[in-house]
Amino acid sequence: MILLGLNLYLISTTRISACIHSCGFQGILLAALPLTLGHSFNSLSGGHFWHVLLVSLGTVVFKGIAIPMLLLRAMRKTGIRREFEPFLSLHLSQLVGAGLVILSFWMSSVMKSIIPLVNSLALATGLSTLLIGIYLTINRKKSLSQVLGYLIAENGLFVMGWSLLGGASLLVELGVLLDILIAMMLMALLVTRMDEMSAAGETEKEPKLTGDNF
């Protein structure tokens, strides 16, 4: 568990162009979470071994393989490789990231005192991942890295869901996974499309949103 927490933390705060790979790796790690956490919540998931297995498998396939491949393809098409242009510099971002992690550990210790039966470490991990993901979507300018931020935020939500509820509903988890996959497909499509258009019309002035779609 500690390993997992550390991993998530490291992945989310290192800002390199291989972010996508680490996101995929994060997805695979996430898949391990139901398997490890599942034992402590046996009473509640009622020993639904298949349920846990299915969710893990779905997570590996979707978050570990399919989505990173999609994003890599989008990256290749657009030619965005490393040029992250954050609003705040990388060093400052690392500080912010560390701050967010501390904040989420503090918040989860507060939450632990209010909500019983919570796996505090997983909760803190999830919360910090969520916050860092949202921070990334706000701080990054390139659309592709905003997508990554959203993905990381969703990963954080997944961890929080498991730590709060221990995989309460197969239906909900698979539904959420499917939603995220489709959203990612669409986002990747939009990213490539926006890139094509800005490449085609670089001399054009920035369009006003009062285009000609009447």
Partner: protein, 495 residues
Amino acid sequence: MLIWLTLIIPASCIILTTLLQSPRSILLLCVLGSLSSSASVLILVMHGLVTPIFAASRQLMVDSLSSFHLLLVSGIFTLSSIYAGYYFLSPAKRMSFGNDKARRFGICWFSFLTSMLLVLTANNLGLMWVGMEATTIASAVLVCLEFDRSSVRAAWTYLMMCSVGIALALLGIFILCSEGRAASLSGESVFLWTELYHLTHRMKPDPVRMAFLFILIGYGTKAGLAPMHNWLPDAHSQAPTPVSAVLSGVLLNCALYSLCRFLPLVEGVSGGQGWAFHLLIPFGIISILIAAIFIIHETDIKRLLAFHSVEHMGIIALGLGVGGTTAALYHTFNHSICKMLTFFCAGTIAQHYETRDMRSIKGVLSSTPSAGFGLVCGILALIGLPPFSIFMSEIWIVQVGIKNGHLGAIVFFLIGAASVFISALKHVMEMVWHSPQKGSPTDPLLTNKSATEIGWPLVAFPLLLLAITGIWMPARAKGVLEQAGAIINRSNNLI
């Protein structure tokens, strides 16, 4: 069984769309498909209004609150499908509306309908969230149907803001349900609204309040409440007009509906002092005031209507906040019908004049009689002119607010509404009174006058509905509204 049928009809239309070959037949399928799904919704609602019905081991449920919204969704969807025929087959659009685009439209149109029906019939709060996210995705594709620069940009903003926003709502749902689990629920039932509804007395207020904050921000983003409304004007103005009508006519309602589901839960936990309701008031006021400011200088007709949506969502939130749940639902109904009508007419007028800029739209009554008449009456109704029902529901909200002692909020509301009234009236008068300039592309002599029109029935039906419900409301309809309002108020013991 009936609930399943309601979901399966639009879902099977998605598959049917992929088989069809011409744009014309796909648009026809849109009309037929939404008609048949409205028929099944009608039968479902007949039962659901009497007593809540369940399906799929209580994962799906229809009660009077969801019945009310179901009726609204299917009605507006059907009319918008008919309008889509007019819109896409008009001379301005017919050329560019090819096979691929038609198929993309059909598939997403029905996915959109299916996911909204899923939101409204879900008893499982997680499933409701899944449906909500699905509506975002399907409608984002519809927004960028043209796939040009500005619409893709708008769809991107929309998709990112709403996805991140309702991710927060999911967090809130997790927290709420974990509290439910602590109150001894097990397995799948943790997510069931009906179970949580009965357990509220055993839950602790603090976590539930925290959960509600997340849910409010999340679904509030989707509903276009003010500080989180940035995506709304772009998405609504860039989308093809039938899509704009559905987006602001019913999608915003669906988001508010989801929010309404949580109100009784939070109220039940925190002892019914109106904590959750009061939280809605500032959001409502900010929405009204911000919309009022932006409406003054707006020149784009569809953006004008989009800001009207923000204003009316604010009014509905305010209505809920001051405790007038029935009035708020009544206003929801009025706003949806009226907004659909105005978008239809605005779309047709914009097609006729080949611009959305209100400064070049002059003399609407002479150049496009039916659409012009509809737009003028629609906007007059929208800003709350007396014979129409929006006036009635606004007065009702004011009454309830004063009765419950929210004078300050009501004053802000009246200031905002008055400002909107004046500035929108100015926009309307400018569009009506000036005659079209001679020799310009908007000269009716130069453009093909009869080609871009919408049928009178499509204008007259919503308008009559608004006028009639403003003057006289059938007792049955009022009963439905009160029944649905009672669920939010938690003042009934039906479930």
